[in-house]
Symmetry: C2
Subunit: 798 residues, 2 copies
Amino acid sequence: MADFIDNGTRFRLTDPTLAPAAAGYLWNRRMMIQMTCRGYAVSQYMDPEPRKYAHVPTIAGQTFMQPEHRYFAHHPGRFFYVRDNRSGALFSAPHEPVRARPDSFAFEPGLSDIRCTVEKDGLRVDLCLELPDDDVAEIWTATVTNVGETGRDVSFVPYFPAGYMSWMNMGGHFDPELGAVLCTSVTPYQAVEDYFRNQHLKDITFLAADRRPDHFEVSQQAFEGEGGLADPSALQAGGNLKGGDACYELPAGILQYDLSLPAGGSECIRLLFGPARDTSEVSELTGKYLRGDAEAVRRASRAYIADGLGSFEIESPDGAFDAFVNNWLPRQVYYHGDTNRLTTDPQTRNYLQDALGMVFIRPETTREVILRAASQQFVSGKVPDGILLRADATLKYINQVPHTDHAVWLVIATCAYLDETGDRSILAAPAGWADGAGSDSLYEHVSRALRFLAGEVDERGLPLIAQGDWNDPMNMVGYKGRGVSGWLAEASSYAMSLWADICEAEADHETAGWLKRASDAMVERINAHLWDGNWYARGITDDGAPFGVSSDPEGRIYLNAQSWAMLCGAADADRKARMLRAIDEQLETPWGVAMFAPAYTRMREDVGRLTQKWPGSAENGSVYNHAAAFYAAALYHVDEGDRAFRVLRAMLTEPDADDIAVRGQLPLYIPNYYRGAWHQHPRTAGRSSNLFNTGTASWFYRLVIEQLCGLRGTRDGIVIAPQIPSDWQRCRFRRTFRGATFKVDVERAEGLTDRMIDIDSRPLDGDVLRRVEPGRTYDVKVKIPGQTQQQAQRHGAA
Amino acid sequence: MADFIDNGTRFRLTDPTLAPAAAGYLWNRRMMIQMTCRGYAVSQYMDPEPRKYAHVPTIAGQTFMQPEHRYFAHHPGRFFYVRDNRSGALFSAPHEPVRARPDSFAFEPGLSDIRCTVEKDGLRVDLCLELPDDDVAEIWTATVTNVGETGRDVSFVPYFPAGYMSWMNMGGHFDPELGAVLCTSVTPYQAVEDYFRNQHLKDITFLAADRRPDHFEVSQQAFEGEGGLADPSALQAGGNLKGGDACYELPAGILQYDLSLPAGGSECIRLLFGPARDTSEVSELTGKYLRGDAEAVRRASRAYIADGLGSFEIESPDGAFDAFVNNWLPRQVYYHGDTNRLTTDPQTRNYLQDALGMVFIRPETTREVILRAASQQFVSGKVPDGILLRADATLKYINQVPHTDHAVWLVIATCAYLDETGDRSILAAPAGWADGAGSDSLYEHVSRALRFLAGEVDERGLPLIAQGDWNDPMNMVGYKGRGVSGWLAEASSYAMSLWADICEAEADHETAGWLKRASDAMVERINAHLWDGNWYARGITDDGAPFGVSSDPEGRIYLNAQSWAMLCGAADADRKARMLRAIDEQLETPWGVAMFAPAYTRMREDVGRLTQKWPGSAENGSVYNHAAAFYAAALYHVDEGDRAFRVLRAMLTEPDADDIAVRGQLPLYIPNYYRGAWHQHPRTAGRSSNLFNTGTASWFYRLVIEQLCGLRGTRDGIVIAPQIPSDWQRCRFRRTFRGATFKVDVERAEGLTDRMIDIDSRPLDGDVLRRVEPGRTYDVKVKIPGQTQQQAQRHGAA
């Protein structure tokens, strides 16, 4: 009913009712589309700010995608009606709006296209959606095949609603010269300056076809009539579309093709759907994508995606894991890193973490991101809340609320870049300042960011949280100017110690020394003020109350405060054991580790907005995968590889019907959250947000490569230290690193007590290979202790 | 199929497919609801800004109602499913979502309730919607009757979707103590200050019932399932609602009542639907409206509406006209005047014109409005773009764009108030200034407004238009600082001459003299610069180009520029005749007079945003009724009573199926526009916006009372000068005026050459009755020349 196919590069779902919101997504640098198995879609493009070209049927708030996006009868979709002209029987592909039970169904999202096949009463519809590599448009190929044994007369009716385009001006008509329906509009505005600002907007949504339809309609209402979406009046009683237009009415591209199909016969129609500024742009796009070389377009699109599929491949006993990690994970990392989540002002935190994953795909992008972020830093050392990607961009929404954590990510991204590339020249690269003349080296930028961070502390020396840290809506812990973030104390300490190593390596002993002392002092403060007996508090409010502590009935234990205590070294073995026990008891769910529990059910005015979110959703105690990834990082950091893998693995939807039904998504991306509040709302726990924008992807990829497989760069070489799960007997992977290729075969050997590494059949002394030679392929064999030994070791250690 | 019933106080529509958006509206001081004949609704309440409690299923832009509001499958509605539990047959009342063809149907909006009766297969559903007089809630009474001859088992399922309430937090559950579904949410926000600002918001939408349902459901998705709205899975195969909740899912109030109905038997259920801040408010509201004295609630609601039905009644040969003018017109005037269109910052123009109609209903409101507007005037004399009704209100949207006409309406409203009430004390009433200390008399305020207006002129002495006059989106004629408004020149001249009369009467000869000279000088300039040969230009652009002139291929002739040329006396007889001919030829449509023609089909950058609207919609050449009302006023002003009446009459939808189908509305209100562009888009011409917010209502009411019936106040008495249409033989009306009652009988008498007036059987010398005695009833008989004479006179005059 549901599984990976084509060596993991495609998925097949054979039931459109199992998980109605199950979707695949495609993108290029200018646009993205998330397409459900039933035919609904959310699409967005940059112009330069995010815009839509297919709208809901009412005036919509301009938003990106919302978690657990609600599709409804008139939600924008790409629908294909099929009518048997003898019997009048109607069905639609993919599934909406007719919802007729298909004889067979396959929804097959791939890496660079989304396919769907629906068969009903001897007729098969094959759909394929592709994107150009660098234009905004959807390329649809629809094939109708008579799989029966007698001839059939069929009307095939693609139906692409454009929705409520504008209260000022919207309409539509068929343009015979272009062979396209043009849905026209004027983006609403009031101030005269916006008229000039809007000049470039693509206010046309067009549906063009490679062959002239037999009939068409442009008015959605005229098409649907009293019959409604599921049984449109225009298609009842053998009727044909009437060639109408839309005059300040909801427009839609509706084309009717009357096909005579002999047994086995089929007809193919190609469609192009998207926005355009004027008819000449429509003409240009149809020329390229309907009348041009389709194979070349496909190759370019595939090449664009293939470019981002990374430098790593694994073969483990866990086929679903391999399929995800070898294809869909780097794809998700690449999507983030190459598009910046389709915004012009990414949050600094997101921008830098998305770049972190790009070190494995296109490290020069990471370098650019780091330097751009540094160049928007303030002379004081403060890192801004968002990074402007264009001269005309502005900081919007959440980027207008002061958050205090951004310096941390500048350090982590820079260290990751150095680890992977060894490119120390970045440290000397100059970057300007947002509010000052001249420029300074990145090294100075990062160091100054940490000095600023070290200064923004309360009288105890703990970092002020202002209106949020990593946790955006934790906005009332410190809004009065006194509250502190326990997590940020840990993250600061961690970042300081990471940077101290860089300083040391750069022979800047003074800064290194200061950073080490500051990092250690912070650890002392953490242990003095934030340890609650069995875990660490998440912070201390404006009024001096620690929260995320055992006396809290809600929000009692926060995952991040524990993960980063391990990362920064605050937790000794005893505390670590207590923390892990508490996490197991209070935060584990069948769908991953919740970011805290219990979820808040009422506003806590000294914690903030997150406590008002629906319990178990998003930042209110969901299985927030980004936090879970930090936890996995911490677990690897403290040699808890089995636990770490379990945490990572739980983020992936299983390719089977039961898990897909519960999570409501396909295993093609890690969503930003699964519902938590397992004990409070068991019915909905595990449900996916179906949002594929998340910092999780980068961290997950990095942990797989650097921790699970254990190949991570050092200043002058590479560490080889796999931490594969104890129930894996063997695992092979390939990874490129600084121009070299490592083929690694990890195998358990019973009787072994220590890891043994051979490189090109010669034993390696220790676990670091120095002086990696570009162009060379290293054949690495790692033997690790068998399960029995490992368990014995573990028991010894505990 | 469609007609007034109950002496014009109610309408009956017997086909739900004739005009799907046909609707009635109810309101009280806190809320309004527009309810269609099929069950969809738009409702809004003040808190203090306008808010909704039933939402569309996606994140909606916060808007008031949009013209030609598009209803769609999941648009919010109030639906009642009826299932026969033996056959499983399903229908719904009013009509959506099942859309089963009813055996009989009646949608019956009344003055203070909306009723609907649907009968199908021996079952009848009677629905009645009422509002409290001063709370935000809908009171529904639903009665199911077995009109057949055998017993029936029926499930009756009210279904009230709450829609997408919030991306932060939304859900719902049944509260057994309250006997209500509570759909809960948190209004989304990001800045911490908004948390405090939002404290009072009513984030609960509840559906309470006066009896416990047998089953319920709160998740819309669980209810609909694969069956969808028209055939919900939860009601298929005899199933019962499962008692589910909504956990960050779309919530809905869905109650199931299993009724055993003997032949002739019926059951009644009362429901309350609306927003609440907390459960105690739900409890309070259900106590008042479900468990309290329903008759008392109904009386209060009726009394509220009855209070606004005015002081005028007519009996003419035109029954539909009478039904509208005696009931629905004052109701619409009252809605505007008592609610200020449910905004906290009405445009000054709207605020003052809505108050203008209130002089006939509650003149003390007009007095308050005038003084409030004056108190927000600037010391310079400038009248602001919007009036703030609360201390915490702000000028928003269009009120942030500078318009230049507001002084005109201050004069007109004040004069109308003085005419009707004779209350000269208002002139001495003090009002403060927005930007200065102290206060001055209203007299000084109005005079200074005119001095300011007189100063804002170009080198020719014509008024600068800035970014718009009465016509909001005419925003680019003068945005560079040079363009002028021809209409405003006329309106200024008219306002100056009106105010000159007041000044004269107040013995302020100096100001009166200046105003008369200024008014006359403006007329000269109008004739010098704006006469185009057959009509007046609408203005002159920043670049010196007159527009609204014969050489313009689009926007060639504007109605307002002609109407106000007549009002201000600029047009002599010859020009008037040319103008009327041009209007007849170019602006007349079967559904009224267009505000200009041809509609613009492309942007004119020296005219502005209106040229970008859909051709024939709103300010782009629709039959914009407000402009048509000015035209009617002008026609009465120049003794063109027959034409004037035709213009007024065309604004009213006929109570017959053909006109209702074309206009798509019921004759219960004047909409702000009917589509124009009759020659350009004949298919859609005549279609109503279905927006009942319009300054038209006040003007229409005033013209009927003061011009058609001809009873208008003077400083010390009342003029009696009816201008009834020449095809009316007789007409009677009753009007209260300054505490007295006038019963007037107007009759044509053949052979008569001059009007003759008897009051209480004594002939009146002239047409002015001085010294009206409060409390007295005047019996007035007016004899006017018969049709033959009148036509002869007209020919003589032409």
